[in-house]
């Protein structure tokens, strides 16, 4: 099966007054049709910027290199016209805050219909409006024909996120990128939204990229997990392996820092992520890593299969298997 989205050596940097921020430093991965790829990492790890770059949603200060292919189309460096065509039809994105992503002065149904009219030539307004109501129904909005005539402020947070999902899936995209889709929602509503995303992936075969900092959400939803740190992928594997036998010290540190069932003392990762204006040489995690040796400063570790996962750590072979 060919990948829905294929990314090779993607690099994103921003020119700022203080210098060049290297937000993404050589990231490669594939997303298969119908799978959920969980992307985890702390703030500033480059997890969102990677996908905003692929979508062409970063401003002019961003410099994007490498390759991102969806089907036959190359997205990096593509003309704005090509990007516009791909965005919303082949690939769509939903965000953390649906209120700021919806237009307050247009009816919700019209905004969903606009997605259809923009990408499907020859579609009539009537057909688009009817399809919009169907889409609102698919994402679980009760009384979709009435709700379609309302405005964003008349919807609750969870319902707004459903509208965003309806817009995103309107043109049956190959890839749905969900950037912290439930972070702003209450847990009981989060459970509903995750259910909708899961159903869409199953019924429509959409590849889903789920960007989140919540390891619980990843454990629940993802087939494969990619852990990012300082603009690079540090570990990748199927969800069971990542949670049960992670090899990278950062992944281990993240899992160990979560509160468990008992009341034993928590184990934070010491220090803070590096400044991406001057990323450290070699492994970016070495300053916080309990396993670091002098050699970690010289070589930039590549992602290689060690045990069950691919790990970017020169010591991965020597480290003891975590229980």
């Amino acid at each position: 099966m060919s990948a829905a989205l294929s990314v090779t050596d993607l690099r994103v940097s921003f020119n700022t007054m203080l210098g060049t921020v290297q937000a993404v430093r050589g990231v490669s991965f594939d997303v298969q049709p119908g799978e959920v790829l969980g992307v985890v990492g702390e703030s500033g790890s480059g997890k969102s910027v990677t996908f905003l770059g692929i979508m062409g949603l970063l401003g002019r200060s961003a410099r994007i290199e490498g390759s991102a292919r969806i089907g036959d189309a190359e997205l990096v460096g593509a003309a704005p016209k090509v990007q516009r065509k791909v965005r919303g039809s082949e690939m769509a994105m939903i965000f953390q805050d649906p209120l700021s992503a919806l237009n307050p002065v247009h009816r919700v149904g019209a905004q969903v219909a606009e997605m259809l009219l923009a990408h499907q030539k020859g579609m009539t307004h009537k057909a688009a409006n009817e399809r919009a109501v169907e889409l609102l129904d698919i994402v679980g909005i009760p009384q979709p024909d009435q709700r379609a005539r309302q405005y964003a402020h008349e919807f609750s947070g969870g319902m707004r996120q459903r509208v965003m999902i309806a817009m995103a899936i309107a043109n049956n995209p190959k890839v749905l990128i969900a950037d912290e889709p439930t972070t702003a929602l209450d847990v009981t509503v989060q459970a509903q939204i995750l259910e909708v995303i899961d159903r869409i992936r199953k019924e429509m075969g959409t590849a889903v990229v789920l960007i989140t900092h919540d390891l619980g959400v990843v454990a629940r939803m993802a087939d494969r997990v990619q852990v990012m740190y300082a603009g690079r992928v540090v570990e990748r594997g199927d969800v069971m392996s990542i949670f049960q036998s992670p090899d990278h010290p950062y992944t281990r540190g993240l899992l160990a820092s979560l509160p468990g069932l008992g009341h034993e003392r928590l184990t934070p990762i010491p220090g803070a992520p590096p400044n991406m204006l001057q990323p450290p040489s070699g492994c970016a995690f070495r300053a916080r890593c309990p396993q670091a040796i002098p050699a970690c400063a010289s070589d930039l570790p590549e992602l290689v299969k060690v045990r069950l996962t691919e790990t970017a750590c020169i010591r991965a072979n020597e480290l003891e298997v975590m229980s």
């Binding site: 069971m240 009341h263 928590l266």
Partner: protein, 332 residues
């Protein structure tokens, strides 16, 4: 339980909001908190959990009288705070502090961190060398004394929250309201701040009211947990007891909705899915406030409001039909 440091009885807070009805302006009442009672023992941590709009933050603010309660009683070390003149209240405020969620918003960007920490000392007219006290406080929260000269933007999120804690500790309080103190932090950083709060509690004998929506952190830090929904406490009990034997259908749904960082458990888990959203606190449902989303609601639930009492579940539950579910259902 040791002597209570804080006793809240029948606390109610209504807000008046104006809304347009045609050309007329109508005043309506938001029932943010209704009839909440809880007790915090000396050296104890009480956790308050609930979704947005549940009133948990309002309880925290009312307890410190940062906002005026509509009715009810708040006793701090035996002194009634509701109706206490501002002059007397100021003295007691030394003992009661608060740490907010967003340390970036709660620190003045134009003041050095040292000046921010020293501000409560100046306001309360504390004698002595403030610089020394600031250095001591920074050391207490795991920062270096020379950090006092820096500005908030020079710190990471975790460090900034430590500054917020140092400021709250400046006046040697005995009780601190922690309003979502780690929610804005990354997990690896969050663990360090949680450890700090626990160490300080041990060292200084502090009592905490810990307000949060992250259920695993609340369980970790709290002795007793109260679950709020639409301004009322639905269930309250010792942390482990509540998580292992939740009896209120809302607590059960809440616990079952939280995804666990364990893919095996997640894939086997039975989930209680709640339909719809939380109703508006302007016009809460009659009887039990949870009944509109409750999977086991019956006629009686609309007619009669269930009291928060122990119905043989081992801890108080505000439900006519409490059912203890086995641990495996909610897992955590």
């Amino acid at each position: 339980m040791s002597d209570p440091i804080l006793q809240v009885e029948n606390l109610t807070k209504n807000f008046t909001v104006k809304s347009a009805k045609g050309l007329r302006v109508v005043r309506r009442t938001v029932q943010a908190v209704t009839d909440v009672s809880l007790t915090i023992g000396s050296g104890q941590t009480v956790g308050l959990v609930g979704e947005s709009g549940s009133g948990k933050t309002t309880v925290g603010r009312c307890v410190l009288r940062l906002i005026e309660p509509t009715s009810g009683s708040v006793k701090f070390q035996g002194n009634e705070l509701v109706g206490m003149p501002a002059k007397h209240l100021r003295g007691l405020r030394r003992q009661m502090q608060i740490v907010f969620q967003d340390p970036y918003a709660s620190l003045d960007p134009k003041m050095t961190v040292g000046a921010s920490i020293a501000e409560p000392l100046e306001i309360q007219g504390v004698e002595g060398n403030h610089q020394d006290r600031v250095a001591e406080l920074l050391d207490l929260v795991g920062l270096a004394p020379d950090h006092a000269r820096r500005f908030p933007h020079e710190f990471s999120g975790g460090q900034r929250q430590r500054v917020g804690v140092a400021r709250a500790l400046a006046l040697n309080p005995s009780f601190i309201v922690l309003d979502e103190p780690v929610s804005a932090l990354d997990v690896s950083i969050q663990a360090g701040v949680v450890n700090l709060l626990q160490d300080l509690q041990q060292q200084l004998g502090l009592s905490y009211l810990f307000i949060a929506h992250d259920l695993s952190v609340v369980r970790h830090i709290s002795d007793v947990i109260a679950v709020m929904y639409l301004g009322k406490i639905m269930e309250m009990g010792p942390a482990d007891d509540l998580y292992e034997r939740p009896a209120h259908p809302y607590t059960q749904a809440l616990l079952s909705a939280v995804p666990e960082p364990d893919p095996v458990a997640e894939r086997q888990r039975h989930r209680i899915m709640l339909q719809g959203d939380v109703p508006s606190p302007i016009d809460p449902p009659s009887g039990c406030r949870f009944r509109t989303r409750c999977p086991i609601a019956q006629e009686r639930c609309a007619a009669e409001e269930p009291a928060l009492v122990d119905r043989g579940q081992g801890h108080p539950v505000a439900c006519h039909f409490p059912q203890t579910v086995p641990v495996s259902v909610t897992a955590r």
